[in-house]
């Protein structure tokens, strides 16, 4: 069998980078599917594009500037109403730093 394009430990590393929890079964299935997709995408290697500029924007345009004037924005309470948890006018998050009190 050919060397897989992506190994299981790489799948787990990428999942960590992407902050995605995968079960063992999901990770193995992901490896098989990504391996097949990456195997197909390798067809791009047949092209020599070393002298070709990349196209990040299909329609060239200048980055626009807008006038620097204040405009109304969304109401804070409306935004916080969508948060899973909010507290004291802000988003509440799990503890990230231990603080001695």
């Amino acid at each position: 069998m050919a060397e897989p394009k992506i190994k299981l430990d790489e799948v787990l590393h990428v999942a960590e980078l992407a902050r995605l929890q995968l079960s063992d079964d999901e990770a193995r299935q992901m490896q098989a599917q990504l391996d097949s997709i990456l195997g197909y995408l390798a067809e791009l290697d047949e092209l020599d594009v070393s002298d070709v500029e990349p196209t990040f924007h299909s329609i060239p345009m200048d980055a626009p500037l807008r006038r620097d004037v204040p405009v109304p924005c969304s109401d804070r309470s409306e935004i916080l109403a969508e948060a899973p948890e909010s507290e004291a006018g802000g988003f509440a998050v799990p503890l990230v730093l231990e603080v001695d009190s």
């Binding site: 799948v11 992407a18 929890q21 997709i37 791009l44 092209l47 329609i59 626009p64 969508e82 899973p84």
Partner: protein, 488 residues
């Protein structure tokens, strides 16, 4: 149910203006039809009775007091559920946004409201617009109204289905790699992917930012063109929105194709496996020729690489865009041991399999050591694809291809093999990668009754040419009065 009148947006507006029907009556009738048929089709995720009736009442009041009425006064419109609607749940067909209620309207939704349109509800899609069959919705898949066992296409399958089955005369979808054109082709309607930058994406929940566009869907070329006219235009809230003059898209439908040079990629047509798709496309080309167009052979040598290029670039951009769904500011939160664990659980449980797959693929393609080999290489090949079009448009004004290699495939047929699903996007991906406007319109029915779509592609900001050519095809093939038999 008595036979459905299949009124166009123009006819509905005319009736509302003349007073033959009130906007409220029209809205009630459409909501009732949608309630009755949605259990079979699953094209709507949400029907907004209250909001729709209030908007309709406002149109009726404006008429009574003699205020001018907009171009879509009283016309029901369905909105893909990845477009933000103030106060109305917007889910992207994902569990991670299952209860999200946006505090603002997307630009295109504002434009619709200003035109007098009545937003009847939010339509089903592949989760975060990632898919070609609508089977990736977290809330059940849409059915093709022409044959309930077939896929409606994706990712704007709900909008395509609702329009084709007469649950709304008009709908908005979004198109990243074919997501209005492919379901348009599968469901037998017209759909336009505007030039990148033509329509503001403000309030469109981002998938792949170098590709996403909002697009109109309708049962006729003229209605789709009118809807494009309503939603197009500059908006400084979207930094990629083009500050350029609008076209007269609706008027362009009557211009004909006399002297128009229509590019045809012979090799692509000759390689088509499906003889019915090839026959329908050839017939459409003949009808363009009969009306005065000239067919010109062109080559798109690098279009065959579009699947590889797209399935690196779009997932890479998606992996970045979807980082915002972390369980902190909106949507689902699944609490874990610490912050990192909360992110991982929220995203692992909130995203469905295809979205997870694309986030993984995109994160991999952008990660240290692979960026040059995958992402950057894909962006270089994208340049080659774009250059092919530049060269082709030196000898032609528009370019015609099939929209899809086959008519609608069966539900379940491609779900076990993501790659096979991706390969079916081969005709819609190249214009997306080049940022070009492209339109799909019906050009025939297969022997089993399924619609076949013709894709027309034009140079940047030349949507008018798409409208003119598509109208000729619509007039010639006579399918504008064909509707899914089970819903007629």
């Amino acid at each position: 149910m008595t036979s459905f009148p299949w009124q166009s947006a123009f006819e509905i507006r005319e009736q509302v203006i003349s007073g033959a029907m009130t906007a409220v009556d029209v809205t009630r009738a459409y909501l009732a039809r949608a309630e009755a048929l949605n259990p079979k089709l699953s094209c709507f995720l949400y029907l907004d009775h209250e909001g729709a009736l209030a908007a309709a009442a406002q149109v009726d009041r404006a008429r009574e007091v003699g205020e001018p009425l907009g171009p879509l006064a009283g016309v029901p419109v369905a909105i893909k559920d990845n477009l933000c609607t103030r106060g109305v749940r917007t889910t992207c067909a994902s569990k991670i946004l299952g209860n999200y209620i946006p505090p603002y309207d997307a630009h295109v939704v504002e434009a619709l409201r200003a035109s007098g349109a009545v937003i009847v509800g939010k339509t089903n899609l592949d989760e975060f617009a990632m898919g070609s069959s609508n089977e990736n919705s977290a809330f059940g898949n849409v059915h093709n109204p022409w044959n309930l066992d077939r896929a409606p296409g994706g990712s704007s399958g709900g909008s395509a289905c609702a329009t084709a089955a007469g649950l709304a005369p008009l709908a908005l979808g979004s198109d990243t790699g074919g997501s209005v054109r492919q379901p348009g082709a599968f469901c037998g309607i017209t759909a336009i992917k505007p030039t990148y930058g033509r329509v503001s994406r403000y309030g469109l929940i981002a998938f792949a930012s170098s590709l996403d566009q909002v697009g109109p869907m309708a049962r006729s070329v003229r209605e789709a063109s009118l809807l494009l006219e309503v939603i197009a235009g500059h908006d400084e809230r979207d930094a990629t929105s083009a500050d350029r003059e609008l076209g007269a898209y609706h008027a362009a439908c009557g211009r004909g194709v006399q002297g128009l040079r229509v590019g045809v990629v012979r090799a692509q047509l000759d390689q088509l496996q499906d003889p019915e798709v090839r026959g329908a496309v050839e017939a459409a080309l003949e009808s363009l020729e009969e009306q005065g167009a000239t067919l010109v052979d062109v080559a798109l040598a690098h279009a065959k690489h579009a699947v590889s290029v797209y399935y690196l670039i779009a997932p890479a951009e998606a992996s970045s865009n979807l980082a915002r769904f972390d369980g902190i500011r909106y949507g689902l939160r699944v609490s874990g041991e610490d912050l990192a664990d909360t992110y991982a659980r929220t995203r692992g449980q909130g995203f469905g399999p295809e979205v997870r797959r694309r986030i993984m693929l995109g994160t991999y393609a952008l990660s240290a050591g692979y960026y040059d080999a995958f992402y950057l290489r894909a962006q270089r090949v994208r340049t080659l694809i774009r250059r092919d079009y530049d060269a082709a448009f030196e000898s032609c004004d528009v370019l015609c291809t099939p929209t899809t290699p086959t008519p609608a495939f069966a539900l379940g047929e491609k779900t076990n093999d993501p790659l096979e699903m991706y390969l079916a996007d081969i005709f819609t991906l190249p214009p997306s990668l080049a940022g070009l406007p492209a339109l799909s319109t019906p050009c025939g029915l297969a022997a089993d009754g399924l619609p076949i779509g013709l894709q027309i592609v034009a140079p940047p900001f030349e949507e008018e040419k798409l409208c003119g050519a598509a109208q000729v095809v619509e007039d010639a093939c006579g399918l504008v009065t064909s509707h899914p038999p089970a819903f007629a």
